[in-house]
Amino acid sequence: MSANDVQMREAWGQGLVDLGAQYRNLVVLDGDLANSTRADMFHTAYPDRFFEMGIAEQNMLGVAAGLATTGYIPWISTFAAFLAKRALDQIRLVIAQPGLNVKMAGSYSGLLTSKTGKTHQSVEDIAVFRAMPHVVTIAPADAVELRSAMAAMMEDERPTYIRITRDAGPVVVPDGYEFEIGKAVLLRDGADIGIVSTGVQTSRALAAADLLEIAGVSASVLHVPTIKPIDVDAIVALADRTNGIVSAEDHSIIGGLGGAVAEVLAEHRPTRMRRIGIQDTFGESGPNDALLEKYGLTPNHIVEAVNDLLALTSVTTR
């Protein structure tokens, strides 16, 4: 973490305030976590449009659905772990099935949740939302992309899940970047291997590409902020011009980005893959660096997967 890092949750709170000025029908529902998620910034700015729902996520999602039918656009403030599971049947019945315009922000997603441990870490939220018909699923890389994604979400009427991380991280999207739902962005071009990443793991994918370059391997990094609908063309094109694909995400390797990329490639361009992510397990409490190391999310883990894949590719093509 460097001095230039920006906290995604702060950006989310400020984003709500700014969008709240532009959209008078934006409302926020909170599950008693506003000072963690930073929805409290919206509460300060627009107390009349902020509804505290207490520690009752199931009711909160139902209330959001009702508000959506009266012309308001509700944003949900809670932790990804609770949103994606505690209120899942509510999301299914009154948000996804009727396709109501509710914006579900899962804060504290992934492994890095301030030493709260496996109860609060969310390693399967992307898989859960991606499997839900009608729900757009977004995992921005950094605070800048998050702000751009929020603006895009307000102009889109579909129910949407957006994944937010707690801690500060580097900004990786280029200057002037504009997020577009369903569009991947090539952050680095290289011919030997394609790394496909999402969320904050993209910064570690870029770090891995730096390490690979030192070792003489040129890697592309395709950042996929929208896991559903996924950018099939960009993923297939990457597979076409490289020797293998490594997916990387701060999420389970099952059902998330890795699963989605594997589905795309299996149907359109069968390609050897390695999936970096949480290996079908739950996490634990601990410092961020230790968690990334133990659960296999560091740039070095990506490098190892790339080397493994390249060795295999060179053997089989020989």
Binding site: M53, G66, P74, L93
Partner: protein, 291 residues
Amino acid sequence: MATASALQRESRSISELEGLSRQARRLILESVHKSGAGHIGGPLSVTDLLVSLYFAELRLDPNDPVNEHRDRIILSKGHSSIALYTVMALRGYLPVEELATFDQINSRLQGHPDLTALPGLDMSTGSLGQGLSAGIGMALGARLKGDDFHTWVILGDGEIQEGQVWEAAFVAARYKLANLTAIVDANGLPQFGWPDPSGHTRETPFDDPAAKFRAFGWNVIEVDGHDHAALLAAWAEAKAYTDGPTCVIAHTVKGKGVSFMEGNYLWHAQVPTQDDLDKAGLELADPEERS
């Protein structure tokens, strides 16, 4: 595009409401018979509540079913969908003949209410315990906009076993939502539940819901859910209370109107045969047709 002025509240007489209830019950039985699936006991217990609301209380316009100023109604006990569709058909939302498509493929009349299928349905329901929360959202939306529409949510007394109902009950009282009324169709019988010591019936699914809603800060009214005059008085009393939400506990009979179905939990979702229809038809005939 219709304007708010197209919205209107019907005000049928008590005898007209009773006639509509008999007609609705006959249609419900026929539809479930034709469909070969669906629920019976719950739709018959909730029929009078729906007839009363649609024909004497709700401000609406069947020709402009999504008018933003309309009163909202959510049948949270979505498995009684056929009763809702039937009353909506009688009110002019859909042709009565369309009831024959209930539960069929591509029908607007899905097994459980689907707001994307039939205009005029205010919320999708079916997984129990969720309607009251959506009703809170509508009531908050009305308050925020300064709109005076009222939101009504009908729950089952088995349904209120769901924990989410009590999350919602707490929050509705916290926000003092006087523009929200919950109605509990307290027919006293679950789908299976706990056997009564007699062995012939079931214990009530939820003891004294009135006391529980009161404890959560609600204004509570208890009423005979099959007495049209009493229901009209209950709606008026609910809306006159301005300090918070009101819950109307409507005491009803599961399978109401058909003697051999009344109070028999086995008729929760049994499909009536032609013979059953004939017998029930005699009991539900209008007085002038009886001889």
